[in-house]
Structures are given as structure tokens and as C-alpha cells.
Symmetry: C2
Subunit: 227 residues, 2 copies
DNA sequence: TGTAAATTTTATGCAACATAAAATTTAATA
DNA sequence: TATTAAATTTTATGTTGCATAAAATTTACA
């Protein structure tokens, strides 16, 4: 008769497994942050994490799965930033949103950059994906448009879905340029703010448009003279 | 004494070399257009072009150089489209620009998509690069902004460099989404037109803004109901 | 048709990802 | 604390793709 065993063993093992898994992932993160995505190989990861390559396969999976895990962690942290918004007016909405992102990315810029490149390469940002970050962000942008209209900042001549699309697109293109190393974090900030404020300006009231344009000009000129 | 030889032999060889080189590049293009970028290996290219791998290295270079050649060809064709513009008004400028691009990409969509992905991966679109397509496109966008202001479509409250940046950015983000397979060619068209018209709208005169918004709404709604 | 140069191919190496099977470690329990 | 079965790690090996030196072949001209 087979001996029946308590569950304690399994639970302990599972916990340890998770810990080792996390150690490997942290090492992976370090490698990418330090030497860039190109320097990331399973062999190098194995050496730095003090295991062998098959162990990585056993604990996490193939290279693609290791990378996916890193990006999932990153997206989760980014989503937390996105969710913390309370609407007052378009300018402060854009500013607080931007500054939240900036302070997140500032800490570990090399890693975040790489993670976005990897996520794109691994097709993790599919627009169609229902629970995906794309749909969530668009929904958020749409809500901001509705709020702005309700508070009398927008006229409402432009379809809110269209406006939300543009708001999101302008935010994204700035991120693309940053993650591909075309611009630095401070220019990312400028492009993002200008893009979003300009989008609002297209549907702003007569009184509010000059305010948006003034703010936009300030941010733009500040950034230009820094170069 | 060494025999002196005429230049004919060299010239003939050079011409033949170019021809063979072009054959290989055309085959490469076919492979990418048919099976996507992932299916492109030097071994596969050698087989389909009826040569061996070292021959490819000899005639063109390493994998990266083969890809670079393909992208250079593509960029040249795209630049021709960009240059053929005569300004009348913002709407027709945007429309003709867009439709020129669309008709170019329509013929060989899979290849163009892949070529943009490759170009990005090979860092061929560096913003700083003086003679690069980035600077050229920005300059073009800037000129359109000046024209639009001169013809009385824009007020001029928004800095023209800023406006050109946004015009170009909105065009680019639509292309990113298309080249990564997130949207199809017709949606690419819609996003690009809406993005650029909205940018103009932010600085348009009182009379012209409704015209821009009306056009934008038409394009947007047409695209939405197609889905 | 011979010849020197150019070109192609054969043969081989290297790097990175991946996995089967053997060896080792682990944690509960008697 | 010694045993044991399961989990885990490692050794050994395979595969694929890029790259190149050196040998074999082809080329175009005299």
C-alpha cells in the first residue's frame, strides 16, 4: 500500500519554488537594466543567478516566458499609476498622469525601456485583448473626455471616442520614441503633455483653448531650450 | 612580365554581380512578404535564390546588411511619395498625402509592414540622422504648417514647430499600429487622417475648424461602421 | 583554348536555445 | 535521525541559425 503524505511538504516546496523563481526574475531584470536587452541570454542569466539553464526552463520556462513574466510585472506597476486619477480639469489631469508615469520610470529607466520593447516584440500589447492594457487605457481616456465635457471645458463637437483615441495615441507615440532611445525622459514628458493638450484644444471652448495653448507653449519652449 | 588586361572583364563581372545581387534581394522580399519576418533565414534565402549561404555573404553581406538593403529600397520609394505635394488646403494636403501612401502600401502590404518592423529593429529611423527620413518628414510637415498659416487656415497661436511635431507624430503612431498588425490598412488611413486633421483643428480659424471637424467625423464614422 | 581573377561551394566553427535522462537534494515521517 | 518518494538540478547532447576559411569551380578575355 502506498504511504499517504501530508500536504506540508508540497506547500513548503511550492513556496521555495516561488522564491527561487523570483530570484531568477530579479537577476534577469538586473541584466537587462545593466547591459540592455541584447546582453540578455539564458546562459548569462543562469551564471548570474547561480543555476544552470535547464533550471530556468524548469522553474519559469523558455526564454520567451521569462521575458513575458518581466513585462507582466512591469505592466501591473504601470496600471497602478494609471488608475490613480481624480478629475479636476484637463491640464491637471494630463500633468498628474504624466508625472506619475515619469516618477515610476525614473527609478529604473533602462529596465522600463527594455520591458516595453520586449512586450512589443512578444506581442503582449495586442489592441484587441479585452483585459489588456490597451483597452483599459482607452477607456480611461474616454472617461477623462466625458469629464472634461461635463465640466464645461470641451464643446463636444468632436466625438468622444475619436478624442479618446487621439489622446491615447499622442501619449503612446511619445513613449515609443522614448523606449526606442530616440528621446530622453524629459522630452518624453514634453511630447506627451503637448500631444494630449493639443488634442483637448481641438474641442475646447473659446475661453479654455487659450489656456491650453499657453500651457502647451510653456512646456514646449522649456523643453526646446534644454536641448 | 604580367599580362595587361582590358577593363571589359571587370565591367561585365560588376554588371552580372549587381544582377545576381538584385535577384537575391527580390527573393528575400518574397520570403518576407509571404511567410513574414520570422520565416526569413539566410539558409531559406539561399535555397530559394538557388545559391549557398556564403554566396549571400559574398554578394551582399551578413543578415543585417541584407535586411538593411531591403529597407533602404522601401524608404526610397516612400520618400518619392512624400515629396509629391502641392499645397491647396490642409484637408486636401492630408488626403492626398494619405492616399499616396495607401496606394503604395496596398500593392505589397505584407512586405512594407515587415520592412518597417525591420527598419525599426535595425535602428534605421534614428531621429538625429540628418539626411534621415525623420528629419525630412518633419521639415515637410513644418512647411505644410507655414503654408496653412499663410493661406489663412490657421490662426498661428500654436508654435509651428510644435504643430509640425504633432502632425508627424499622429501620422507615425497610425503607422506603428498598422505595421505591428494591430490595425488594417483602412483603419491606418482613418487614424492618420483624423490625427492630422485634429492637429490642424487646434490652431484653425473659427470658420475653418468646423470644416476640419466635419471631415474628421465623416472619416471616423465611416471607419467605425466598417468594423 | 589557356589563364588569372572572381566567384561559388564545401567543410567547419560558434553561439544560443532547448530537452532527455541521470544524479542529487529536499522535506515529511517512522 | 535515518528512510523514502518526490521534486529539483545538472550533465550531456541536439538543433538551428549565422558566419567564414580554404578548396573547387566558373568566368571573361587575350
Amino acid at each position: 500500500m502506498k504511504p499517504v503524505r501530508a500536504q506540508g511538504g508540497v506547500a513548503t516546496r511550492t513556496a521555495n519554488k516561488l522564491k527561487r523563481k523570483q530570484t531568477i526574475l530579479n537577476t534577469a531584470r538586473d541584466i537587462i537594466a545593466t547591459g540592455g536587452y541584447a546582453s540578455f541570454t539564458l546562459a548569462e542569466l543562469a551564471i548570474q543567478a547561480n543555476v544552470t539553464v535547464p533550471t530556468i526552463h524548469n522553474l519559469i520556462g523558455n526564454k520567451s516566458e521569462v521575458l513575458t513574466q518581466l513585462v507582466v510585472d512591469m505592466v501591473e506597476r504601470t496600471e497602478q499609476v494609471l488608475s490613480s486619477t481624480a478629475f479636476k480639469d484637463p491640464i491637471s489631469a494630463v500633468e498628474s498622469f504624466t508625472d506619475n508615469l515619469m516618477s515610476l520610470y525614473h527609478d529604473d529607466e533602462a529596465f522600463y525601456k527594455a520591458a516595453f520593447v520586449i512586450g512589443e516584440q512578444e506581442s503582449m500589447f495586442e489592441h484587441g485583448h479585452a483585459g489588456g492594457i490597451f483597452k483599459k487605457s482607452l477607456k480611461l481616456a474616454y472617461q477623462v473626455c466625458l469629464d472634461a465635457k461635463e465640466h464645461g471645458f470641451l464643446v463636444g463637437n468632436i466625438n468622444s471616442e475619436l478624442l479618446a483615441d487621439r489622446l491615447f495615441a499622442n501619449q503612446r507615440i511619445a513613449r515609443y520614441d522614448w523606449m526606442h532611445g530616440y528621446i530622453d525622459l524629459s522630452e518624453y514628458r514634453c511630447q506627451m503633455i503637448c500631444g494630449m493638450l493639443l488634442t483637448f484644444a481641438a474641442d475646447a471652448t473659446e475661453e479654455y483653448r487659450p489656456v491650453l495653448i499657453a500651457k502647451m507653449s510653456t512646456v514646449f519652449l522649456e523643453s526646446v531650450e534644454q536641448r
